[in-house]
Amino acid sequence: MPEAQQGAHIVFLGFALDPYVIGLWLQALLTFAILSFLIGDNPVYKFAEHLFVGISAGYGVVIVWQQAVLPKLVFPLFPQFGPTPDVPPNYWLIIPGMLGLLILSRFIRKYDWLSRYPIAFIVGLYSGAAIPATVQLILLEQMSATMRPVLGLGEVTWTVAVSALIVLIGVVATLMYFYFSRPHVGTLGVGSRIGIWFLMVAFGAGFGNTVMARLSLLIGRVEFLMYDWLPVVSHYLAGFVK
């Protein structure tokens, strides 16, 4: 483990440890702590879970402070503290800065109503941006993509034509299943039953992908244990035996 030995400065049981090795052990122990949940809920798992949540939150605060609050608000308002002291202050930023501070009024019960103003601003801004974009993204473009091959637009091969037909039947049948204003009998009943089959196939594909994703996480941990942690353990054990 030459890399592990570089820069070693902590001596433990006669072995020189460096922060890399300590980090590996921490990762391995926390991995085992999280996996211990498979046996049952226990304090070790709870500790690892809370540690993860706490560190994630703390890391997020630091990153937002360093890469958003300081360069976007503090330095432009007070250039003398920033990397470009010659630039004149941008006093317009007082408005978003005040709005941002008002969010913190949530912590004072008497004044928590003030937080509604920045929230209203955010909701209004993002709704305005999101509604047309979402309609374009999900509705118009998807409808167009569903209909184009059916109407013979673009390059239509046999496979594309069959695929387009299946997609079209699936879309119509699934919409029929979600039409609740009339009883699902007759044509609507047949269509909605076909729609259920399409939904089941979609759920099955989703479940299959979810299994693959969860196993990938386990594989990632096993890779770490086998290729990063275990060689370090065997290295130190070999040294200990000698």
Partner: protein
Amino acid sequence: MHGIAYRLQNIDRRWLYLIVFAAVVIPFLTSLKLPVGLHSPSTTDIYDAIEKLPPDSVVQLAFDYSPASMPELEPMAKAVARHAFQRGHRVMAMTLNTQGALMIRRVMDEVAAEMNKEYGKDYVDAGFKTGGVAVMLGMGKDIIGVFNDTDARGNRLSTMPVMKGVADYSDIGLMVDFSANAITNAWIAYAHEQYGLRVAAGVTAVMATDLYPFWKSGQLVGLINGLKGAAEYEDLVGAPGLGILGMSSQSITHMLIILFVIIGNAGYFLTRRRSQSAD
């Protein structure tokens, strides 16, 4: 028969965990390597898009994921970054996820060092930007301005050769978003639909099902699906990594889970037949 059916329905799940764990570990111990198989068209579309870009194009990589999704997304991020460098493209890395800043350094520093690429000339780490949609929209007008003309290491972006001629999305050849959440939809909605940026995605397998319609409609250039997609891309680039390494475990465990599903259903139907005949 009833006893077997009952036992099949009541297997202690910890035995199943142990069997799955063994199925994952054994390929690593035995160095078993199963083939990656056919490359998915959605993966090869991204590969082809990068191949067809003119040399010295700018490829934007968005590392919108955290360590929780690292096993799936890091191998594909490395493979795509490696491919971009192989083709002589410049890479601009950024993230809209607070923990993505760390992910950028893990991937870009390793791949760049391996391929002798220089920071500031061949690639840049623009770092994390808060604001999500506002950042996406702002980059459509002024990329350097959105990042306050500063990279994650405190250098001025405008003075870096890697950012030469990069003003807005029209100067980006391809953008690949690595994510484990719905932020890819936002990149399509705001960067692609509003500014015409060519967007591709590498996502966790959980997310992939929702995104295939966007690839089929042409709103996404391509889609890398989880560890399988990462293994395919590593294979295409000719640089086996953790994606290919994990595929043997993945394949064996999938077969095992199919077996579990069959056993579980067999137990269910046998128990149901028994209870029906008892009625």
